[in-house]
Amino acid sequence: MPETIELSRETGLSLEAVESLSAGKHEPAWMVQSRRDAWEMYQQLPMADWTRGIRGWWAGTVKETVFDGLKPFVAASTHDLNALPPAAKSLLRPQPLDDADEEDTSDVSGTSSDAAGVLVQYNSEVISTTLTEQVRSQGVILCSLDEAVQQHPDLVQRYFMTRAVKASENKFTALHAALWSGGVFLYVPKGVQIEQPVRAIYYMDDPALANFTHTLVIAEADSYVRLVEEHVSPNGPTQSIDCGIVEIFCGTQARTEYYDQQEWGDGVSNFTIKRAMVGKYGLHKWVVATLGSDLTRLNLDSVLEGEGARAETNGFTFPNGQQHFDVRNITRHTVPHTSADSLFKAVLNGTSQMGFEGIIRADKAAQDTDSHLLANTLYLNESCKAEVQPGLDVWANEVRCMHGATIGMIDDEQIFYLKSRGIPEEEARQLIVEGFFEGVIARVPLAGVRQRLRESIVRKLA
């Protein structure tokens, strides 16, 4: 399996790289062909115009030539979790997952910290997968996508880049389909409900890696699953990219929750599409924090394709320094009686830039759609720049769709009020920013995720 892959010495993205990656993984013919076709599409598709930002005002931060010199596959230098770099190892600490008393977060004793399963991907390879016997015995599958191609080809063929995100969507998705490696495959059979979350950790440290992280979650009817992901890499000069895709299939009356803390190092360029397909009476919840990377283009979409489906989207965006983040959220209602609630909170520090575009789309058939979108943005200084555009694209005539946006700075009176109680200015700003994000954090039922989000706020304010 992976150890036979010799790609790490090669650089550059090419058809040869695609074929030798596939051969190294001993993939079945259908996957080889799928990769070849995707490479063909990549060659033909134009560079997407959004590389200049949602509104086109970014400086040309993404060039086609950025791919020259990148390595499409870098083997993990170790498969031993104990030998991981300290930054990666610290992520493996158990997280308190119970709904702990908010005031007691410093005291985690007595709260459970068992995840149902943990998957770790280091550079292009998944190096560790664990799943409790109790969950495994119910038919739940957690493995790398590489393994799923071999072991569960029917499921992969049915769901992988077929409906949610297609290879043909744009140049990056085509490249992803040609070169993906590692990946998370999570399958929850009908009626199986897992209370304990599943964790997936993506760690990379190669400075020239083109990483194609892929997460595929299939939750069958009446199932319940929560996936907590982290994307982490060290800071420092690097030209590496993460061109990731998350596909979530929330079946009939299923409940799926997806939490992500994206903390790529400050040199990484990140192009990610996360999309959930929600079936009849299904309920999907996103909590996606965009914190790291130099440049991020995130598509965070939900497609409500079954009657009674509901999606709750929570975006948490905090660029600082010279980061450029673009976040695009499309909630698409395709059938009658679906609902959605999207809340995006962004704080900008340093000279960062952020574009946000949120669209509620109700197809002609989507009568009785009930959909909300709210974007709140807070500037911490006058040198950052944000462009926030909520929008409606409604074709049905019986809907309730609402959108709104606020943008502002920290009120000096709030700072003075907190200072007059003895709280130093820096701590006061921290409290106010935490309070601003509280609307999103309060929607996270997992204490460990809440803690990580709060820690990241503190780091970003420093």
Partner: protein, 306 residues
Amino acid sequence: MTEELVIKDLYVNVEDKEIIKGVSLTINKGEIHAIMGPNGSGKSTISNAIMGHPRYTITGGDIIFQGESILGLAADRRARRGLFLAFQYPTTVPGVTVSNFLRTALTNRRKGDVKPEVLPGNLNVEGDKPFYENKAATGLGTDGKNIDRSKRSTLIPPREFRAILREKLTSLQMDEKFTKRYLNDGFSGGEKKRLEILQMAVLNPTIAFLDEPDSGLDIDAVRIVGEGVEKLKGPDMGIVVITHQLRILSYLKPDFVHVMMQGRIIKSGGPELAAQIEEQGYGWLRAEAGLPEGFELDNDEVLTNA
């Protein structure tokens, strides 16, 4: 007994307009002072200037607190030394729970005003002003390096804090639900004032200014606030109540009453002065001081309440 707070011939500008024109006042622990006066006479300006609001510029005089001038100190350092101001219009801070806020505040109050060590690296180019006083350098610790903000884990242990909070809530007859709400967010006028008193109870200042703790409240709410403050008073706390209504003074029983007009204290006396004002209004005082009629009033006077 040493004097806790001495205001010496203070002059204060708000946006280039001189509001306070030479006020002197000495407040000791255990004393209750009332500052009365019509609207626009400068009562609130005094308390804001003493607390260190950046919009209020002190152009003359001095404020000596615990034997040291505090003019150069930011509001948070004044508060950590034991000054407190219950605001007339408390600010809303959405998303920050009362209990989290109070725990952070009490932690800082207990630390006291620990002056960061002055190291050469902490001095700015001009040489005299420590770097840590600059806005850009607020993240610097004593060693000149960035403060590790994770030290927030050194907040007062939750159990201890909850015990303190519960005790204060009980004595002020307040519901614990109060502390789960966001700071002043959606609070009624009376709730905001009671929260100010709760903060005062938790932070236990040595000198507390109460800026119109009774404004906008109905009779019952004034009683609750008045009795709340009454419970807090003691030999270790000096209290200055700013008001132009007398009802609250019936609960607090001030030792000294000062009347302010046009930026000056024009008369000081004992509790009998308050009673006199209740009967006769401010007109006679204005005449006694030789001030022109209605000079300071921008709006209709609200003395009819008195």
